[in-house]
């Protein structure tokens, strides 16, 4: 009986199979659903399905005054709520032609950059987790915890801060806070070195990410990719330097580099390891590495912000009144959030409630390039590519 079974030769061209991934899948970073059409191990097509976290933020914005809407911006990119608050507040201030005091600007920079560090820490930590490296995740969250504790001391919340508001900030720093912040920065570089050892220079990590999901610069621009995703494709474009005056004036006194590879190499900052030979500009490794280097730059900015804040005189601003009337005009402003360029559009109608609120989500545009990146890759590379885009579904779905 057994002898009669003859091994058959199989044709390796198989039928295409449709695989559903998510919305409850650990490596889709939230409620993202991907529909993969695969031919064996090769992905032929990826179709992202979004909207599982749609909370009608724009509709809510049409029914509240701009001051009342500020806490809702926390819930967009909940890993970088300070940056969301900042983008919204600056947009309202642009519409009302307001200027906040200098001390307030430095305090906002301080908060925004600390939150950028926290957001990038989650990005690189969970990215390691996606690729099967658990330890850096714990290190990243340990450090993020310290930042979250700092934020908690400032505003009482650990995730949705509602601290930067139109007109200023909710309150000045508590006594001794700057010393705590400096202490955090002083011990932080050691963790970055650990992360470089565990991830950046890790042979397995490099093999999983270098040359995978290469995003050419032209494609990135056409799809509206911004932030580290765009910069990793080789364009030094950062709204902190290239944005509108109301935003760039905040960062004008600060000295920092825009992190982007030039001919595949980065300017030496004395702290980060060199680029491996396999890495191609625009691949997952570069997207990861740009974030690692941006953390270093943000630490530099925070150190300067502590200095500037202490030297500046005056108040930290006054939160706007709830019933503040808006002019009949539109204002659109983009700021550099950790995930990319975050834009808010407010259409005023002469009342305190705007006619229209529109949110340009950076993760939304960064996600839209996914079908392009995944075409022809292996199934195992899909989590590597999704993780390298650093999506927050709260911001994608709004």
């Amino acid at each position: 009986m057994v002898d009669s079974v003859v091994p058959e030769e199989f044709d390796l061209l198989t039928e295409e199979i449709v695989i559903n991934m998510g919305p409850q899948h650990p490596s889709t970073h939230g409620v993202l659903r991907l529909i993969l059409r695969t031919d064996g191990e090769v992905v032929r097509e990826v179709q992202p399905e979004i909207g599982y976290l749609h909370r009608c933020a724009e509709k809510i914005g049409e029914n509240l005054t701009v001051r009342q809407f500020t806490p809702y911006t926390d819930r967009l990119d909940y890993l970088a709520a300070m940056n969301m608050n900042l983008g919204w507040s600056l947009c309202v201030e642009k519409l009302l032609s307001w200027q906040v005091p200098e001390k307030c600007r430095h305090l906002r920079v301080l908060m925004a950059e600390l939150n950028r560090i926290a957001s990038h820490l989650v990005a690189v930590g969970t990215y390691g987790l996606d690729l099967g490296n658990f330890t850096p995740y714990m290190y990243c969250f340990r450090e993020r915890e310290k930042i979250v504790n700092l934020f908690e001391a400032v505003c009482g919340a650990r995730l949705t801060y509602h601290y930067i508001v139109p007109g200023g900030v909710m309150g000045d720093l508590p006594p001794g806070w700057l010393r705590e912040c400096s202490r955090f920065l002083d011990q932080f570089q050691a963790t970055l070195n650990d992360l470089h050892a565990l991830l950046t220079n890790n042979y397995i990590f490099i093999r999983r990410t270098a040359g995978v999901g290469v995003l050419p610069l032209g494609t990135a621009i056409s799809y509206g990719c911004t932030g580290p995703v765009l910069r990793a494709s080789g364009l030094a474009w950062d709204l902190r330097r290239h944005g509108e005056p109301i935003y760039t004036q905040m960062y004008a006194p600060y000295d920092f580099q825009i992190v982007a590879p030039q001919d595949g190499q980065y300017p030496d900052d004395g702290l980060s390891p060199p680029v491996p030979d396999d890495a191609v500009v625009g691949d997952c490794w570069h997207r990861f590495y740009v974030r690692m280097r941006e953390i270093v730059q943000s630490v530099r900015i925070v150190r300067q912000a502590i200095q500037w804040y202490q030297e500046a005189d005056g108040s930290v601003g006054e939160p706007m009144k709830i019933q503040q009337k808006l002019p009949v005009a539109e204002a659109y402003l983009e700021t550099e959030a950790p995930k990319g360029q975050l834009g808010f559009l407010i259409v005023g109608q002469g009342a305190s409630i705007p006619r229209r609120v529109r949110i340009r989500s950076s993760s939304f545009c960064n996600l839209s390039v996914l079908p392009e990146l995944c075409r022809g890759c292996l199934v195992a590379d899909v989590p590597a590519i999704v993780g390298s885009l650093d999506l927050v579904l709260g911001e994608v779905d709004r």
Partner: protein
């Protein structure tokens, strides 16, 4: 390049497509004739002196005028679709505005139409889906015009000012 100069370029090239402008606005805008929107956009993207490589955002704004004294109804008003463009090369920005009727041929239920820009800027592909989903503007020539944020069986377009708030979805009470 100064916005006034960009507008002069556009007016020279498309004398009939530019219907209005406001250069004093917070974000200077020009109003474009919908039928010539695609030619204008191709020109804006490809002209070496302009090079608007990036489309940031597509927004539809509902200018429904509520009848005096509140109440239901009121088909007066119009739609405006904003396109926020910028050039990474030259660092200039521009907003295009297109004015549409709220309903095609003023027949309630018939969505107004615009040509798609998804082959000019790929950003437009998802943004147009979103505008279609939430505001109800149909983009002619779009490769895959489906709802993107709402479920596919959703009725109506929630960001229209006359959208009736439903208190249940498929028998599930909302509040």
């Amino acid at each position: 390049m100064e916005t006034s100069q960009i507008v002069r370029y556009l007016r020279e090239r498309f004398p009939r497509a530019i219907l209005g402008e406001n250069l004093q606005a917070f974000d200077p805008w020009v109003q474009v004739e919908p039928a010539q929107l695609r030619e204008v956009c191709f020109y804006l993207r490809d002209e070496p002196a302009l090079r608007f490589q990036m489309l940031h955002l597509i927004t539809a704004v509902d200018y429904l005028e509520k009848p005096p004294g509140g109440g239901q109804g009121g088909s007066e008003g119009h739609f405006e679709v904003f396109y926020h463009l910028s050039s990474l090369e030259h660092g200039h920005r521009l907003v295009l505005k297109v004015r549409l009727p709220r309903w095609k041929h003023n027949q309630p239920g018939q969505l107004p139409e615009l040509p798609t820009l998804s082959d000019i800027w790929r950003t437009a592909e998802w943004h147009e889906r979103e505008v279609y989903d939430l505001s109800g503007v149909c983009f002619i020539g779009h490769p895959d015009l489906r709802r993107i944020l709402c479920p596919e069986d959703w009725q109506g377009h929630p960001l229209r000012k006359d959208y009736p708030m439903s208190h249940q979805y498929q028998g599930i009470p909302g509040r």
